[in-house]
């Protein structure tokens, strides 16, 4: 990949320190986002997608904390730790202060579009008022200029009668319209990266299609990069160029979108793809993934997916696979964290398959109580 990505994440680990124990919501993930690229972050509920994306802006609330990793944006360090004189990790000198994060990064450089357009606008102010205020705050221009800029942005995201709609309250907008307003808000300050946290999940399919088209149009026009958080492989296929699949806080597969779909190298991604309808395959019945994701408080040993994996062997229970390039093609980097691949060299073939019985045991011992995603996220 290009040597100079827009955003690079190295070994990011986020933990929540709760009364019931330490939850590793994000476990040493690394990925990059290039200029003008849409990168997908895919996974089931509770996989740690939202936590990972919000930690890019350092917006993790207590009891959560980023405990490890380095996040670089352009030539600035959003997060980095070093070992202090007492052996405890401390903030590295080049890491941006909270003040700098707020005034220079959030909104201006990296913006966020949230999942629920119904709740992302303050009900007590008009849509225009909020948009205008947001522009004024981040761009330091007069109220009047901000107003005309806000109306221009509303028009840009395809809202007709923008000047009239400017005066309306959020409850007078439909869901799709509100999501357009949020996109306008995110784009208003011309950020280079937009984190879209499941922005179309709350919308119905036709509106979702319109919004995706709009995003693609605007992405081309403004050259903005996107980190698209979703659980919908269909959306991923539609807009993403590079895909990261997350499971239980780990990135388990990382590849260009075509390779993810047609040359799948991880059994979890396989299972995800099997559970959704595809125009290129005809099946009798879609296969749902068996079971639920294990609790992140007490994750299974070895490969995190082995409790639900159809091809799990005993070695999977013992070895935690890291993400390695398993591509056959030298031009493409396709990383996977599955012990099946020869590169791991753990004698997968020689290991005995796990019986349903042993799997069930592993499942119970790991505790199948799934952690409520939104609860753990915020």
């Amino acid at each position: 990949m290009s040597s100079n990505p827009l955003l690079s994440v190295e070994g990011l680990t986020v933990q929540f320190f709760t009364d019931r124990g330490t939850v590793t919501a994000v476990n040493e993930i690394s990925f990059e986002i290039q200029e003008e690229e849409i990168v997908g972050l895919v996974g089931e509920s509770g996989a740690g997608k939202s936590v990972a994306s919000m930690s890019l802006l350092r917006l993790i609330n207590g009891p959560g904390r980023i405990v490890e990793g380095e996040i670089r944006y352009k030539d600035r360090t959003l997060f980095a730790l070093e070992e202090g004189p007492d052996g405890e990790p401390r903030k590295r000198e080049d890491m941006l202060s909270d003040e700098e994060m707020r005034t220079e990064i959030r909104g201006n450089e990296i913006a966020v579009i949230f999942q629920d357009p119904m709740e992302s606008l303050n009900p007590v102010y008009t849509v225009g008022n909020q948009l205008q205020e947001f522009i004024k705050l981040n761009r330091d221009i007069s109220k009047k200029e901000a107003r005309s800029e806000a109306i221009r942005m509303l028009r840009e995201v395809g809202i007709s009668d923008a000047a009239e709609r400017y005066e309306k309250y959020p409850h007078e907008f439909s869901g799709g319209m509100r999501q357009r307003v949020l996109i306008a808000m995110a784009l208003a300050c011309k950020p280079n990266l937009i984190i879209a946290d499941e922005p179309t999940t709350a919308l119905d399919v036709t509106i979702e299609g319109q919004i995706l088209d709009l995003v693609q149009d605007l992405q081309e026009k403004y050259g903005t990069s996107f980190l698209w958080v979703t659980h919908d492989m269909g959306v991923v296929a539609d807009i993403c160029e590079q895909v990261n699949v997350m499971y239980l806080g780990n990135i388990v597969e990382q590849a260009p979108v075509d390779d993810i779909f047609y040359n799948t190298k991880h059994l979890y991604t396989d299972a995800l793809l099997d559970s959704m309808p595809r125009p290129d395959r005809t099946v009798e019945r879609l296969k749902a993934i068996k079971g639920v994701m294990p609790s992140a408080i007490d994750p299974p040993e070895g490969c995190p997916f082995h409790t639900r994996c159809p091809d799990a062997r005993q070695v999977c229970e013992q070895t935690h696979p890291d993400l390695r390039d398993v591509s056959d093609d030298a031009n493409i980097i396709h990383r996977s964290a599955c012990l099946k691949h020869d590169i791991f060299n753990v004698n997968y073939e020689g290991s005995l398959p796990m019986t349903d019985e042993t799997k069930r045991q592993a499942n119970t011992s790991a505790g199948t109580t799934s952690v409520n995603e939104t609860g753990a996220d915020r």
Binding site: M54, L57, L59, G62, M101, R102, T103, I105, R106, G107, N108, A111, V112, F114, Q115, D116, E119, S120, L121, N122, P123, V124, Y125, E133, F134, L137, N138, E156, V157, G158, I159, S160, K168, H171, E172, F173, S174, G176, M177, R180, L182, M185, I195, I207, Q210, D213, L214, D217, R378
Partner: protein
């Protein structure tokens, strides 16, 4: 972008003309008879307090007109009723007009100094309403600021502020205010100290209501959105958190006006509020209770005035509460 606009046309299932906001709540109050009575009483009391000028010392009730003085002469005196010359006709303890021996010159009779009792009660309205609003305002501002800060930041800030507030809450209001008054006034209690004390004593309850609302509002996505857009915390609290948590606090404030009027009247009764000759209801009662046998009506009228005023604020507050509760729809 042309295609997009065409799509939006279909997308525009926007609901307009939905009944929300203050106007809707006022409509509900109009339909609720007890709340309406409360509203009328509050309006009447506020009107009397705001638009009447009385000569509390002279024998006549004069709306905006003082018999023996020109208005220009009387106006400065009204601010300081104690500077008025003694009444010309010494007619102390005259009974009300409808009792034997009473005259319509003094419809509710006169007090021990020969001052017209009705004038004093009407003048007292002004004091009571001002007391009620001022003390509630102090409690409201203090409580909203503390509650919003505690609720928004949570954690240690929350603990610190709320424990402090609970300390105030744990002390009985009357005791707290009396001690406060004694301290601040240096042994010369007066109404303004009582008002400040009553305001401070109201802070805890407002803080708690505000905090509990803020705890749910701060989880809303628009707060998160504002944070991710790089908005300052202070700005988020003022622009987003407070306006969305304010409704229930405002309802409570209506009820609290009645409560503090009663509280300050009690203080005046005990001698820690308004001092003679200020025509405060509580202070009037304080004198009148010694006259319970000889002149029982002297206790009745200020008591009635307090009762009606507080009832007005309570009825209105209850009505507002119902109007704001989505589960009760009239």
């Amino acid at each position: 972008m042309a295609t997009n606009e065409a799509q939006v046309e279909q997308d525009e299932t926007a609901v307009s003309g939905q009944e929300v906001g203050l106007s809707h709540q006022l409509k509900q109050i109009k339909r609720d008879i007890t709340a309406r009575i409360g509203l009328y009483i509050v309006v009447l009391v506020t009107f009397v307090a705001g638009f009447s000028w009385f000569d509390a010392n002279l024998g006549t009730i004069t709306f905006g007109y003082v018999s023996d003085y020109t208005l220009a002469q009387a106006a400065p005196l009204l601010e300081h009723p104690e500077r008025l010359p003694p009444p010309t006709d010494m007619n102390a303890h005259a009974p009300p007009a409808f009792v034997e021996g009473g005259t319509w010159e003094h419809p509710l009779g006169t007090d021990h100094e020969g001052r017209d009792y009705l004038s004093r009660i009407v003048y007292g309205t002004r004091i009571s309403v001002m007391v009620g609003f001022a003390a509630t305002a102090i409690g409201l501002v203090g409580g909203v600021a503390i509650g919003a800060t505690a609720g928004y930041y949570g954690g240690r800030v929350d603990d610190l502020l709320m424990r402090f507030v609970e300390i105030i809450f744990a002390i009985p209001a009357l005791v707290l205010i009396i001690v406060f008054t004694e301290f601040v006034s240096g042994g010369n209690p007066d109404i303004q100290y009582a008002v400040a004390g009553a305001g401070i004593a109201s802070i805890p309850i407002f803080s708690r209501i505000m905090r509990s609302r803020v705890l749910s509002v701060r989880e809303m996505e628009y707060i998160e959105a504002a944070r991710s857009a790089g908005v300052k915390d202070r700005h988020i609290i003022i622009r987003h958190v407070i306006p969305n948590s304010f409704a229930s606090v405002l309802v409570y404030a209506t009820l609290q006006v009645g409560v503090v009027i009663l509280l300050v009247a009690s203080l005046s009764f005990l001698g820690y509020g308004a001092q003679p000759p200020t025509p405060d209801w509580g202070q009037m009662l304080s004198y009148a209770h010694g006259q319970m046998h000889s002149n029982p009506w002297m206790s009745v009228f200020p008591g009635l005035a307090i009762l009606v005023t507080i009832m007005g604020f309570n009825l209105l507050g209850d009505g507002l509460q119902d109007a704001l509760n989505p589960r009760i729809d009239n």
